[in-house]
Symmetry: C2
Subunit: 565 residues, 2 copies
């Protein structure tokens, strides 16, 4: 039986429900956005009791088929003021699906901090007790001690407890590190506003998977897909270098955020390339090729260790290396690893946090390149000083408070490591995605074309946004895009084996477009007019070196992106 569970935190009750017929073929982002759209008043206070937080694994999640058990966290976002789906790896999605759950809906607000323990057909609320105030690592250690290492955890750190907009939900990886985040859009603050410190999803026992309509077909189809993953040269690169390898490319293109998005290229980035990273990890005895969720064969994750071989942080990502590195003029992996460790412990988005610190540096609060200054900011975020809370409010608010105009954000959410003046397809994604500036909504960097030319970039972004949405619905990692082809044939075949329902190429496209349009409609009702679908004015005026580029995709094209199928 396919189920969802609702938790009324105010009353301290819960209710398992059969999945409504209308939701039967919705999963991940399609399901979180649909529930939020159906049940949440778009004008509500995102951190008030009327907002709902929805966790949903993908439609095809729950097995060890590679990278198929991503978890979507959806709600009205306190950062953007619009709808949000924030996607994460880790084992939460896998364990929820194994327990037969397609969605967990958190409603209302508890009087006292709670933990939520979910098993097969069971759910328990307990006071969080002395977990309150702990970071994600300490919280995970205590919970694993009690519930065993096979449980999956979704936790907030001190940032989520303080309702910071930069707060994410930290999910545990196969070894139990709470280092995979539903990072973007303040989903950790929403969880904190409901006073939920942690969700524990128990292991339902060995070899439990969702019931398959046609198990032999599933096995055959998923085997074919995993084989493609295993043999794809593009994926092999992720396996060896991870996302960090993207830095050289974007720097070469001149679109890498340096010094709060004021330059697009810097020779100093030579010390933080993906190759450098992989070699250092190897030489020090760390771990390249690490799976963020059980069964993942892409293994783009990694574990950074210090010179003595001691674990510092997992995982070093391109976005983090840029936003907390190059963007702060810090070109030092050991420093960035310390920052990553701090972000994971606090439970915050490295992108939004890095962007916020970059704006604070531009305001002169601390100097660019000041590693100790950044570490002090993390201390202040933990302690909740005014400066700590200001950074925790995100880059847009930092700019507003400190009088900095050059904030690279859309709908209040900071851009990731692709300057839209150069990687214009990503600029279109930032502007038009209902999620705010978020490369994961449709990252066009892989397209082999002239990224500087504004022509055709709306169409390009649109196709990438549709594909990303499909992956987010099925529960697959965005990197499965490498074996997705143009038609998602293998995933559609897996869907048919799982549900016994036909799924055509047109169907998946329709499913994605319906999801996006539902989200856009929510945003409009939330008060976010089309004028919020824009790259900030200063990026249309201030030319980015070395190309002297500005963002110049016409507004009229941006406004029409979702008009046609």
């Amino acid at each position: 039986m396919e189920e969802m569970v609702r938790i009324d935190l105010r009353a301290g009750t819960h209710r398992f429900e059969s999945l409504p017929e209308a939701y039967r073929f919705l999963g991940g982002r399609a399901l979180t956005s649909r529930i939020v759209s159906d049940e949440v008043d778009p004008t509500c206070d995102a951190l008030g009791p009327s907002n709902k937080l929805v966790l949903a694994p993908g439609l095809l999640s729950g097995t060890v088929v590679s990278s198929s058990s991503r978890i979507s966290a959806g709600a009205k976002s306190p950062l953007t003021g619009g709808i949000k789906e924030s996607n994460s790896g880790g084992n939460t999605g896998w364990r929820l699906a194994q327990n037969g759950l397609r969605a967990v809906v958190f409603e209302g607000r508890a009087e006292q901090w709670q933990i939520v323990i979910i098993g097969k057909g069971s759910l328990t609320l307990e006071p969080a007790g002395d977990l309150v105030g702990l970071d994600t690592t300490e919280t995970a250690a205590r919970l694993f001690e009690r519930f065993g290492k096979k449980a999956a955890l979704a936790i907030i750190g001190q940032a989520g407890e303080q309702l910071m907009n930069v707060a994410g939900i930290a999910n545990t990886d196969p070894e139990g590190r709470p280092t995979r985040l539903n990072a973007r859009g303040g989903m950790g603050a929403v969880m904190g506003s409901k006073r939920v410190k942690a969700v524990v999803v128990l292991d339902p026992g060995p070899n439990v998977t969702p019931i398959m309509f046609d198990l032999p077909a599933w096995r055959s189809e998923s085997k074919g897909y995993v084989k493609e993953i295993a043999t794809s040269p593009a994926i092999d690169r992720y396996r060896k270098i991870g996302t960090a390898g993207t830095l050289e490319l974007v720097n070469k293109l001149g679109g890498l955020p340096i010094r709060n998005f004021s330059r697009g290229q810097d020779a100093a980035t030579e010390s933080i390339t993906g190759m450098q990273m992989a070699e250092t990890i190897k030489a020090r005895g760390g771990q390249n090729s690490h799976s963020c969720m059980t069964g993942c064969a892409i293994q783009c994750s990694n574990v950074w260790v210090d010179e003595g071989g001691k674990e510092v942080a997992s995982s070093m990502e391109f976005e983090t290396n840029t936003l907390l590195g190059a963007n702060l003029e810090i070109f030092d992996f050991d420093a960035i690893a310390q920052f990553t460790r701090n972000c994971n412990a606090l439970g915050v988005d490295t992108i939004e946090t890095g962007g916020a610190i970059g704006v604070a540096m531009q305001a002169g609060l601390i100097k660019f390149g000041d590693v100790e200054g950044v570490l002090d900011i993390f201390r202040q975020m933990r302690e909740g000083t005014v400066l700590g809370k200001l950074i925790g409010a995100g880059a847009t608010t930092v700019g507003r408070v400190l009088g900095v105009r050059e904030v690279a954000s859309v709908k209040g959410q900071v851009m990731s490591a692709y300057d839209p003046r150069v990687i214009k397809g990503n600029g279109v994604t930032y502007a038009t995605s209902p999620m705010g500036a978020d490369h994961t909504a449709g990252n066009t960097i892989g397209a082999k074309l002239d990224h500087l030319d504004p022509k055709g970039k709306v169409e390009l972004s649109k196709e990438f946004q549709i594909t990303s949405t499909i992956l987010d619905i099925f529960g697959f990692c965005n990197f499965a895009r490498a074996v997705y082809g143009t038609s998602a044939a293998n995933m559609r075949a897996m869907f048919e084996a799982r549900f016994g329902e036909p799924m055509s190429e047109a169907d998946v496209r329709h499913m994605a477009l319906t999801t996006i349009r539902t989200e856009v409609a929510f945003n409009r009702k939330a008060g976010l007019g089309p004028a919020t679908d824009r790259i900030p004015e200063w990026m249309r005026e201030q030319a980015l070196a070395p190309h002297g580029a500005t963002f110049d995709v016409p507004d009229e094209e941006l406004d029409r992106i979702w008009d046609t199928d």
Copy 2:
């Protein structure tokens, strides 16, 4: 000749222009909003060079007819993200109109801080030199020394220089105090973003007034109007007690903001009533019945002095006494006078600043009632510490950063001293005025009816908003409403005498509605959808003592307010 002047701050040039035919019968708010709407991209960065700041006296400004020379400051607001007209007394409007100017338009952004010196057909830009960094009082003193006490000044203090959202433009009163502010919506930050420290409007000589189409008729009509002002009992009350007298009424109704809008009534307000104020000023040798602009017969302004009779601040107003007093649980006029003095010197809105401090108190940053703590905040605003800048960003941002949900604001602008859960007509004004929460857009407190009953409050607010808009267009003080009647017959007659054009009752109403609709349209294009026309959710949920009232005017009614004439 009716003229306007444009200043291109980037180029350092200016151009006098005849007033376009389309603007001929627009003044004050109608003219600022029309120019902003015609010339400013609604999606622009409010603190970027594309925004324009427009100063415009009223249609009937430029004589010593009582309270007829208000000055409108208009721009896209950095606080609300929408269009703004912020209205002030003082002598700036009078002097501009005497110099034959209907509007001054500030465009672009200067490299260095400037002062702008305006005379009859002349305009000079000069480097601001060592005026930069000075407060409004010091700046005014230096400028008067150079240009003589008969000039009128419009100045920003350290808040405007720092681009704080709470920054207003300080206009000088007849004695030269820079204490009359275009306070709301961050117009001082817009002036600061253009790097204009001060505008000096020279005295064009004795008895200069705009050319009258029919001078005898003007004299006769204005005389009748001034007589009404002089004999109106309602206005007599303003003359004796000022706005401060409203406190007792609103406290009695249970709608006075106490302790960050958490209670509506407090016996402790007995020590800050209007009567208390008037008596103390009298006993100490201060000044009740003070004119904020030359010729004003209403004289609602005052000058507070300390126990030794030394001037502390002008003017003690109901809004200030509440937002910087009762709302902070500070029931002490001497403390509030110190706060007012600080606000005037910094050049900030006492309402937004008081609201922001109230939210900071609720977050526990300083205690409610802590006078020294508030004075320290002003010091920090002056020095530009992180906390100072945070308060300077306004109440909504303070709530966002410090995690306080109970922020009484609409479109990012804090409410004034009427809780919308009790004074529901003002709640409708806050929600539906294109200006954000602003009682001056349509203050229904004077209506003799049940303020708690939600029925009919949309219609009530609408009529008050229309009247306020008409007064803002003609250039008359809102308190002239007391002699306005239902048809503005005297003002319409003065208009006809001034311009030789007929002006019917329907015409003035049409003029006001056109202005408001122009503003609403700008907001929509700026990305502010109808969902931003709302009282915050928590005020619909959390009942206000003593009446247990919530804001309960239906959304559908709010949405239809401007649909009909």
